[in-house]
């Protein structure tokens, strides 16, 4: 089997398992809503400050929700001894990373798309002109989180204090991506022209490309028993 078809096989397996159990998607979406609620009370949203902190609130909720999903992505495999089977499969192991990474990306995108209407509702935004650029940002932002996140999830699933260590590893690492997402989202919501958003898109693209490549190269070392 080629790298591509093995990646797809793993992706298909993850999507199917999620489709049947919905163990990850529903808790993640609910978590995003709860986070929006918590932020609403901590900041007394409404009025002028909304546009200032809205993007930050949104992305914080996404990052925290991504931690929930990422934690599950390798722990489930370990609990059922499935990971050993995956590793025994012949061929390059980086396909396991690629499949898992794409799976995490899709879950995160789904969570973001489902919670976007609630965000616009709670924050009294009128969707429309900024919808398309926002979707592009969601894609790049989720890919950034999924790229390092999947590698760290594989890493921390090997560790004693896994739920504790994953955020400690992931949060400082994704800071460049997070800054870019928040800033670019703020610019998009303000209706700024694309020229000012472009540098942030560049950072996000570089982030995704660099860390996906490095993860593909290093995955072998992380997963080896």
């Amino acid at each position: 089997m080629s790298f591509f078809s093995r990646t797809l096989a793993i992706l298909r397996k993850d999507l199917l398992a999620e489709w049947r159990t919905k163990e990850r998607l529903s808790p993640m979406v609910f978590f995003v809503l709860l986070t929006l609620l918590v932020f609403n009370f901590s900041f007394e949203l409404g009025g002028a400050a909304l546009h200032e902190i809205g993007p930050g609130v949104l992305w914080s909720a996404f990052v925290f929700a991504s931690l929930l999903g990422l934690n599950r992505s390798f722990v489930d495999e370990r609990e059922n001894g499935c990971l050993d089977g995956l590793l025994l499969a012949p061929g390059d192991r980086s396909a396991v990373y690629m499949g898992k990474m794409l799976g995490n990306l899709l879950f995160l995108l789904a969570v973001e798309l489902i919670s976007l209407p609630f965000f616009t509702l709670f924050f009294n935004l009128s969707p429309g002109p900024f919808l398309l650029p926002l979707l592009g940002l969601f894609l790049l932002g989720s890919a950034s989180l999924a790229s390092v996140g999947t590698l760290f999830a594989a890493m921390s699933s090997n560790m004693r204090l896994r739920e504790l260590l994953l955020p400690l590893l992931l949060l400082p690492m994704v800071m460049p991506a997070l800054i870019s997402c928040v800033e670019a989202t703020a610019l998009v919501l303000k209706g700024d022209e694309l020229a000012r958003i472009a540098p942030y898109l560049q950072i996000l693209t570089v982030f995704v490309v660099v860390f996906t490549t490095l993860s593909l190269l290093l995955f072998e070392h992380v997963i080896e028993e």
Partner: protein, 223 residues
């Protein structure tokens, strides 16, 4: 390194530190606008350089460990990471002491401060993984991967933070120094570099002894 050589090294570090203190407090003139507090500059900047050197050593040692699987590279990465966090902490402590009288606040979300804080937290996470994360056999491998990723992230952190807070920039991008100030800075660079290398060498020695002890215990329990 033999004990004698190591003691000689310690003496050299001691003398260079005395020279640095002498230069900072006795030789160099007080800066005209900032006054006495500016002298913290001679510790702040060399500490920052040492921290970056440490992070670079972690990066190289991590690559080398993954290539060769030799424990000496892992020991080097661990020792350098600890020192990087230590010197990073010196930078983050001396910075606010200097900032308070000059900028009027201890902390500003200014590009260099923010970047340093992010880098610092990445390496603290690295050390946490090392100490609580895993069984000893897996630690070096996971830590190496982390050491590589963290260093690759450095330019991205800098670029994004600079873009984010460009108008907040308070650190001078270029500084022109009077000759006495320049010499003092060079002396401090040398003193901090020697101090860094000395700590690194001692830390490596300690780690090597600890590994040897573990091996001995292993052998004894096997018999």
């Amino acid at each position: 390194m033999s004990a004698r050589l190591s003691n000689l090294f310690a003496a050299l570090v001691f003398l260079s530190m005395i020279a640095a203190l002498g230069a900072v407090f006795l030789y160099v003139p007080t800066e005209r606008t900032m006054g006495l507090v500016q002298r913290i500059f001679y510790f702040h900047v060399p500490a920052a350089i040492s921290a970056f050197l440490a992070f670079f050593i972690v990066f190289v040692a991590s690559i080398q460990y993954l290539r060769t699987q030799e424990m000496k590279w892992d020991r080097l990465a661990l020792s350098a990471a600890e020192l990087g966090v230590l010197f990073g902490l010196i930078v983050l402590i001396t910075g606010p002491i200097w900032a308070r009288p000059i900028w009027g606040v201890y902390w500003r979300w200014e590009p260099r401060l923010t970047s340093m804080l992010i880098l610092f937290s990445m390496y603290v996470a690295y050390l946490m993984v090392r100490s609580y994360g895993t069984s000893s056999a897996r630690t070096p491998r996971l830590a190496s991967v982390l050491g590589i990723l963290a260093f690759v992230n450095v330019p991205l952190v800098y670029y994004s933070v600079n873009l984010w807070a460009a108008e907040q920039q308070l650190h001078p991008q270029k500084i022109a120094l009077e000759p006495p100030m320049k010499y003092t800075l060079y002396i401090c660079y040398a003193a901090f570099l020697l101090f860094f290398l000395f700590l690194l060498q001692r830390r490596l020695e300690l780690e090597k002894t600890a590994d040897a002890l573990t091996d001995l215990q292993q052998q004894l329990s096997d018999d």
